[in-house]
């Protein structure tokens, strides 16, 4: 079954690999993907460009140093009659190859620092979502939106049941068959995604109820640890509606690999509608929300 999957992906491989190296927003990882994705938030190009610049700098230095070494290896070999010279010191070159790296580093540091300061500024957010990590699911609580506090909208989000059945040891089920539309969502889908509006500066406040987790959606450009007793803050402003997938990035126990994150970015109108529905259902029968909360862990155990 795997070879079938590889054959399938081979067909698209070359084009996809090329496309993915300098790609636009990717909602999820692609086969043969070589480089980081640009992401889908206002800040996410920062790590992407920094990654490319640093990779470029390293490649140039690498080519220079390794070429010098290979020239030495071919020119100064005993089998070609090379006679060893006696010098072992040259102050000028030593000063030069200490100074040039310092200058390169200053440039990189400048780029990185400005990117970092913009990331650290969570002020002026229009929405707040509280994210709590648990072994092994996430909880999302909507705190406020456009200056108004949101009443009792919150839910658990855990691995979808199809992935969960497939991933059991000896399930005999094909991970390549877990799909939503054309997209393979094996281990990258949840029962209930986080829904947020587009073009809105969203502040995420992140913590944990048990061990340390890490909330990571590559499309935002960052990850940050969810730590019990500590509330971390970060922000994202999604530029394109869509479904963005990520995973827990800090080892958190046996099912660390099985607590994905899905963010569904909707247009502002659609989001307002969705939020109104959620608020209505949480208010109307108070019992409904409660059973939903209780049902989540129970279903987890059955799966």
């Amino acid at each position: 079954m795997t070879s079938g999957g590889i054959r399938r992906s081979f067909t698209a491989a070359a084009a996809l690999a090329l496309a993915s190296f300098g790609s636009a927003a990717l909602a999820a990882p692609g086969p043969w993907q070589l480089n980081m994705e640009r992401g889908a938030s206002t800040w996410s190009p920062v790590p992407y460009h920094l990654n490319n610049v640093a990779l470029g700098v390293c490649t140039v230095i690498g080519v220079l140093v390794f070429s010098a070494m290979f020239i030495a290896i071919f020119r100064f070999r005993k089998s070609r009659g090379a006679v060893a010279e006696k010098w072992s010191h040259n102050t000028t070159v030593e000063v030069v190859w200490t100074t040039i790296p310092v200058l390169i580093l200053i440039t990189l540091a400048y780029l990185a620092t400005s990117g970092l300061t913009s990331w650290a500024d969570t002020t002026g957010s229009q929405m707040t979502v509280k994210v709590t990590g648990y072994q092994w699911k996430w909880r999302y609580d909507y705190v406020d939106y456009l200056g108004k506090s949101i009443d009792k909208v919150g839910f658990m989000s855990k691995l979808d049941s199809r992935s969960d059945r497939t991933r059991q040891l000896g399930s005999g089920m094909d991970p390549f068959a877990v799909k939503v539309g054309d997209e393979n969502t094996y281990l990258l889908d949840v029962d209930k995604p986080l829904v947020v509006p587009v073009d809105t500066k969203i502040r995420f406040v992140i913590t944990s109820g048990d061990v340390i987790h890490s909330w990571w959606v590559p499309a935002t450009g960052w990850k940050i640890d969810a730590i019990p007793g500590i509330i971390n803050a970060a922000w994202a402003n999604f530029t394109t509606p869509g479904t963005y997938r990520g995973q827990c990035a800090e080892l958190c126990g046996q099912d660390h690999g099985f607590m994905p994150i899905v963010v569904e970015v909707k247009s502002k109108a659609d989001f307002a509608k969705w939020l109104a529905e959620q608020e209505a259902s949480s208010k109307a029968p108070a019992a409904a929300a409660q059973t939903a909360q209780v049902a989540a862990p129970v279903a987890g155990k059955q799966g």
Binding site: P29, N51, V65, P101, P228, A249
Partner: protein, 538 residues
Amino acid sequence: MSYAATHDQHDDHHGAPKGFFQRWCMSTNHKDIGTLYLIFSLTMLFIGGSFAMLIRAELFKPGMQLMQPYFFNEMTAMHALVMIFGAIMPAFVGLGNWMIPLMVGAPDMALPRMNNLSFWILPFAFVLLLSTLFLPGGGPAGGWTMYPPLSLQSGSLAYAVFAIHLMGISSIMGAINIIATILNMRAPGMDLMKMPVFVWSWLITAFLLIAVMPALAGAVTMLLTDKYFGTNFFNPGGGGDPVLYQHIFWFFGHPEVYIMILPAFGIISEIVPTFARKPIFGYKAMVFAIACIAFLSFIVWAHHMFAVGLPLGAEVFFMYATMLISVPTGVKVFNWVATMWGGSMTFETPMLFAIAFIILFTIGGFSGLMMALVPADFQYHDTYFIVAHFHYVLVTGALFAIIGAAYYWMPKWTGNMYSEFWGKVHFWNSVIWVNVLFFPQHFLGLAGMPRRIPDYNVAFANFNMISSIGGFLFGATQLIFVGVLIHCAFFSKKKATDRVWEGAKGLEWTIPSPAPHHTFEVPPVINDDELAHGHVND
């Protein structure tokens, strides 16, 4: 006192003790203890390697095929603990034990009985650690870093902590011994600035060990009291802070990373001049660069924690400090290349491993520089990009240097030449498969595959399969190494000369091959021309 010591040793003056127990278990001889360390380390390499094979087998294709996720986590944690504390560190201590007295013209290590104890603690520490795999509840499964609160959920925490205490005691005693030997037992005329770079690298490494092993011991002891004695160092429910552990751990952990690479720098600085037949370029800069890296290693620990939510100022400080390390490291790489330039090179197996080290370690250094940039690290952190990075610096870095050192000094140890043909077969297979194994992991990380997961989305399937194939072949290739070692020690007909390598310089090449059981009982008269760095100021 000195008379009594001489009298004591009179019995075994002419050779090694005959009985197995007397010779190996009661040994106070630096060469025998060095051999024990090296054999122990090789054993651990294969145990840790077999864990890695299981990990790569489970990751061969998506879906869970072989093991439960918890067992997978045990394997990742144990693989790291065994490789770091069992394979890499003891291998360097073994090389130091064997070679430092020979290189500085000392008759033995300064504290031979403590030397015996430092070694013999280790097998017990690892029996304790590995036994947890067979106990109810299983072994440590929270990663080798043992972050609380997760590590506090482990039933075998006490075993792991006690094993780490034992390893720490062993390391500290070993480090004290090495410092005492280098500072007190150099032959007259072996000035500090004439010492081989390998000896320098170990002197500096030993200070790092003494400085940071207590920090690790403190951190794991706090874990122990948190779990069993009701303290709340890391428990937020009792006013503690889980991040505190990470600060203490990485205050140990980052110097630890350099403990595993500085002696490798020393080894490469021995091998390259020998086979380039030219003195090392910039001896003083090389020594200074090692000292610089050692100093910087104390002020960069939080770059392992960029995603824990540090204050902006802290992230900026640790980013700059981390980037600075690439300057002295770059100097070392440039100097190795400059040593080759204008030389007269031959390419025996040790030199091949040294050249591979320089290229592949530098690639690991490049990814290290990339992840020093905090915004980019927000993406790299805890992905396979990191896994690729530290395997480039530890496998093609530290391990390749150790293997190169084994080929380089093996003729001196055994008195026989190893098979150059099989050495080269081992080299080419290692260097090809290790890249097939680890290079695709860069792509996996960049595409978004987290580390320490037993199963993954099918988008990651292709590169994982390539990586696993590389892993199996790299693992199998190391069996060739064992074959070469056994052949060289017991079956090789080709005797080694005293100098072994045409371009070799230094005191260790002035003694017969194989090195007699006791050497330099009378301090050698040092002739600066014999030393690799006898004329540094010229």
